[in-house]
């Protein structure tokens, strides 16, 4: 039994979390090194090992969440890619789906394609929707097209031919031609990466993969050797957007799975906690400095979506409007994001309305109270005025603040113009911020046909525990959980993922005419891919598990619902029953007389961990300087309660018995607000559980 190690990289900080066999969690925060993130990790770990707080050779599991893939796209630092496509379809990548992510905006600029027109070449060939060759591949023309790409100096080649989801024959033939003419140039073919219908989505995904592949594989090589250099020999695994982890080999060839690596980890942590609490349904709510994210977890599981966009910015209506970024068709945890966080700027709009974000004060100048020149009030400034946040310092004393600057900014920009007293203005800002963030929570609950009142809010991120109570109340949610080290909870989530590989294949068949043998064969192909990848990760066949799923819809419907395939009956029967039921819960109706169609088959290949079980008695000892919380302070709780004296305590001061609010639980990286009328206790894993008094509270 050894240590588990989680490494989470953010733009500013890198978080390291060690879990010892006895349940002790040790955390460490070091500055990130954007020039080469692996260096910061190595330095941070070296310090921990040098201090004797953990032993390198005792680490037997390492999971890493990385922004390297995303940054390569956002910063335009990927490979110079060439694209081969079917004659007549050179511009699919640039035409995209035409749609704009914002309505009425004559200034919106569509992102430049990752492969410009000069590096997109057509080849004559044609495969039909059934996978039959209509026109053979023109090999001479293809050779010329490849040479033209090489003359453009491409460093990687993506291949995406029309209808290649139905047959990869021509793509494979082309890949062989590339290998013959340009050995050593990495090639990504769409039929291997994503044999799924819709040419733009498949092209974009294949191109993104080719674009980030060299960057990601180089980074993972450096990190692996850095870890080895420190004596950490446990295999490195990387967190995927889907919530599973994958080995370095798979991550290097299919880096599209790493796009939302970091945010996924927090939800994985929430899922683990949900399991520990008997499958309790949770809304994971992560509020940081510039954005707030929400995801839904129940029975220890989370929902996934089939695609995401990179670099599209944040868009509240993002589920209706898309096209803002680079489309990647890869499973990702269903996380909704809005542009509201502690640093979000507050302003009054032209009609006299109060607006929160999405503009942010960022780290520089930061909220007005930081005293770094910011004069516009932020959400954090409102929280300082209300007394939610310590008026003298943040982060356990490492960031001094000046509450007077918060008051001044809020008085000048909000309270003054609206003719309100300062507390009323601050309380209003707090509520408007909550209303904005509530949209993220609704996006994963009501929009999905789930009632948020059936869930507890698990709030983390530096600002989550401050807002959780009022936010939950606004959604009529009564129970709130605050995990240990809320600011580092994402890194904690890195301790729990299974190794997973996700595969998809389009399989368009009506359920009523489903041929079981054909279905079995199609699943067999996907599982063979999974077995191969798991074997590369070092899993023996006995430790492999395969989950079969199908994307289904009523014939002609727009989007599909993904259902697990039960094994307790003929596929066509169980899928029919399950689909009607899920359609009813999701959309409020089902239609027994309509034809149900399978569109895609999916397999999740899982490697069963032989690593240590996570103990129930998790307890966190921050290896961090932290000032002990002290005394009481005046806190404003809105017009119903007014300003009250609230006791300020540490997490350990809360026991297993309920304590009544108002209370502030102050820690190194966050403050938990327990409003009057609510009560709080400490449960498993040092989690704080808050129960609000009145489900109809404001």
């Amino acid at each position: 039994m050894g240590y588990r190690l989680g490494i989470d990289i953010g733009g500013t900080f890198t978080d390291l979390v060690f879990l010892a066999p006895d349940g002790q969690v040790l955390t460490s925060k070091v500055l990130s090194t954007p020039d080469d993130y692996s260096r910061g990790i190595a330095e941070g770990l070296a310090a921990v090992f040098a201090a004797g707080q953990a032993r390198a050779d005792a680490v037997d599991q390492v999971v890493h969440g990385t922004t390297v893939a995303t940054n390569a796209i956002l910063e335009g630092k990927g490979a110079r890619v060439g694209l081969l496509t079917t004659e007549g379809f050179r511009d699919v990548l640039e035409i995209r789906r035409l749609r704009m992510p914002v309505l009425y905006d004559i200034n919106w600029q569509k992102p430049k394609p990752l492969v410009d027109r000069a590096r997109r070449q057509e080849v004559a060939e044609r495969i039909d929707a059934e996978g039959r060759v209509e026109r053979a591949l023109d090999r001479d023309g293809a050779a010329a097209a490849i040479d033209a790409l090489l003359a453009e100096g491409v460093e990687a080649i993506a291949i995406c031919l029309l209808n290649a989801y139905a047959s990869g024959a021509h793509e494979e033939e082309l890949a062989a031609l590339v290998a013959a003419r340009a050995p050593g140039v990495p090639v990504c073919i769409s039929s291997a990466l994503l044999p799924e219908i819709k040419e733009y989505e498949r092209s974009s995904t294949t191109v993104v993969n080719a674009y980030i592949m060299p960057v990601v594989s180089r980074y993972l090589r450096l990190l692996t050797s850095g870890l080895h250099g420190l004596g950490v020999t446990a295999p490195l695994r990387v967190m995927q957007s889907s919530g599973g982890a994958m080995g370095v080999e798979a991550a290097s060839t299919r880096p599209i799975h790493l796009i939302e690596s970091g945010p996924a980890a927090g939800v994985v942590g929430a899922a683990e906690l949900s399991r520990r609490l008997g499958g309790r349904p949770l809304i994971a709510f992560d509020m940081g400095g510039t954005t707030a994210k929400a995801a839904l977890v129940s029975d220890g599981r989370f929902d996934r979506v089939g695609s995401l966009e990179v670099g599209g910015g944040i868009n509240i209506a993002g589920r209706l409007l898309n096209g803002g970024g680079y489309h990647v068709r890869a499973p990702a945890i269903d996380i909704a994001e809005v542009g509201a966080g502690g640093g979000s700027l507050i302003r009054i709009d032209g009609g006299g309305g109060v607006r929160v974000g999405p503009e942010s004060a960022g780290a520089m100048p930061g909220p007005a109270c930081y005293g770094r020149g910011g004069t516009q009030p932020t959400v954090t400034d409102a929280n300082v005025v209300l007394g939610f946040v310590n008026p003298a310092y943040l982060a356990g004393g490492s960031i001094p603040i000046d509450a007077e600057l918060s008051r001044r900014a809020l008085a000048e920009h909000v309270a003054g113009p609206l003719g309100l007293d300062l507390e009323a203005a601050a309380w209003g800002v707090h509520r408007v911020a909550n209303a904005t963030m509530a949209r993220a929570l609704r996006a994963v609950s009501t929009e999905r046909g789930r009632d948020p009142r059936d869930f507890s809010v698990l709030a983390f991120g530096g600002n989550g525990p401050i807002h959780a109570a009022a936010l939950a109340a606004s959604l009529d949610v009564r129970r709130i959980l605050i995990p240990p080290v809320p600011g580092l909870f994402s890194a904690l989530g890195m301790l729990f993922p299974d190794t997973e590989h996700h595969y998809v294949r389009t399989f368009k068949h009506g359920l009523d005419q489903l041929d079981p043998a054909q279905l079995e064969a199609a699943f067999g192909l996907l599982e063979a891919d999974g077995a191969k990848a798991l074997a590369e990760d070092g899993y023996a066949p006995a430790a492999m598990r395969f989950e079969r799923m199908a994307d289904l819809r009523y014939l002609g419907e727009n989007s599909e619902l993904t259902l697990p395939l039960r094994a307790d009956g003929p596929a066509r029967d169980v899928l029919r029953v399950d689909f009607d039921a899920v359609h009813e819960t999701t959309y409020g109706y089902h239609s027994a007389d309509e034809v149900v169609e399978i569109v895609n088959l999916r397999v999740v290949a899982r490697g069963l961990s032989s690593g240590p079980r996570v103990p129930d008695g998790l307890s966190v000892s921050a290896a961090l300087g932290s000032r002990a919380p002290e005394g009481r302070r005046a806190v404003h709780f809105g017009p119903d309660h007014g300003t009250l004296e609230a006791e300020v305590v540490g997490r350990r001061a809360i026991g297993a018995a309920w304590e009544p609010g108002p209370l502030l639980i102050e820690e190194y990286d966050s403050t938990t607000v327990v409003p009057p009328g609510a009560r709080v206790r400490r449960i498993l894993w040092d989690v704080l559980e808050i129960e609000l008094a009145d489900p109809r509270g404001a």
């Binding site: 640039e94 004559i106 040419e199 309100l420 509530a438 002609g556 409020g588």
Partner: protein
Amino acid sequence: MNEVPVTAGIRPVADDPFARDLVKNALATIADEMALTVARTARSFVVKEALDFSTALFDGKGELIAQGTCLPFHLGAMPFAVAAVMKEFGDRIGPGDLFITNDPYDGSTHLPDIVLVKPIHAAGVRVGFAAALAHMTDIGGRIPGGNASDSTEIYQEGLRIPPSRIHRAGVPDENLFRLIERNVRVPDKVLGDIRSLIAACGQGERGILELVARHGAERFDALCRDLLDYTERFTRAEIARLPKGTWNFVDHLDNDGISPEPIRFEVTLTIAADEVTIDFTGTAPQVKGAINCVYPFTLSTALACVRSMVDLSIPNNAGYFRPIKVIAPEGTIVNPRAPAAVAARGITGIRIADTIFGALAQAVPDRIPACGANAPDVGVSFGGYGPDGRSHVFLEFLVGSWGGGPWRDGMDACTGTLVNYSNTPAEMIEAELPIAVERYALVPDTGGAGKWRGGLSLDRHLRFKLDGATLQIRSDRRDHPPYGLEGGESGAPAWVDIRRADGRVDTFPQKFLTTVDAGDVLRVRLAGGGGHGDPMLRDPERVLADVREGKVTAGHARASYAVEIAGNPPAIDWPATAARRASRVTTTGA
């Protein structure tokens, strides 16, 4: 509370200045949730891939309080449906009722757009309405797809449903459902879409009832009124920032598909103090063909255009409409009298917008690009029966590129601000229909020349695999291509023909109906976007970049930009370019 004096444009609400923001947020979320339901559960291509639908919420009196993030063209059209229902049923509207209309002269804007309106009651009192609208794949009538531009009376255009009660106290009227079922070519899709609209209305109802439960009916109503007032204030403040004056612009549709005459659109735009007036006086009389545009659609188009000139965060509700006045003389193509045919009014809406933007470009030349082809000028309707007797209907509207300027090139292949259309993936078409997509690509040299180049034309080639199928095309911008601005040239004109299976090429007027057989290829070329500014002022490096990407040929670079490019890799011949430009520049003002 309306008597509280306005101070610096800001009027606090009596007891809770933030409650309005919360209600605003909640309403927008509910309307979007309704839209998501439609987007996910609709059956037809038009709804699911083109997002040709809208959702909206109203207060108890029928005033629009929120609209979903859907088709901008519908902004302002939905209130007419609710008004039509209220007019028809008055105090006979009860809890559990649900109403339907598609009558363009009574609540809708053309027959394919079916609108569902659900009154919302709390404790027996009406507290609001939820409404949802979607463009159906078919609505019966002469031509599959319900979009024919050659009908001359509304009676030819399909099933016309006046405002009718389709649920009474929660019980569906089976007769009405059966009537619809028997009158459309693809009843499963149409009824599926109607069911999806009903589900969305139900969701809207639940959302409003939750808000009413939280705030109380009276306070909810007061908050809604305050929200509309706030929106009006915000809009007026934004309009007040625009230059004041009167501007005039004229553009044309090529013809109505019946008579070859061009159709004139004239807009006189007046911005005075904090109000905008858009006057269509001078616009052509209503036409015989089915491109007449009923007033609600003209109004909503105008509202959507002005929307691009003001803060994007202004909520979509009736308060936004108040400072904007639209004058459309009765009997013109922008406000026809019944029974004028209106099915293909979308193209007229596009030209209305192009004309309004032409006028706005004079008012705010630093903000408005040249004319694009980024709204669906071309509509394709295909219908036929397979050997198995199965009916196939395919409908798509094609969207091209933006006009150039005033500070960038026109975006190649991107929807404009009026319709947020998506294209249909070729692979989906091929998997589900007897159609193969042979080409979908940008066309070099088709963007209007200018300091800022217009976006390129798009080619779309469809090969049919059925004999004896009906194909109906509605196109335009052949005789009147998208205009340039500030000395920029027009984009390339649109073109449509059919290459028959035997290789012969048939040409047609802009709007036509024909029969196609297996092997025939429809070849659509959309217009290119107009250019902005003098082409002689275009940075030669930008011309070179276009040549390198194959968006402009060396010949076009020379002819339209006086830029000499040669060699491999291509490079600018600077002396030759300087000489060429010197000889051209004399005729142009900077």
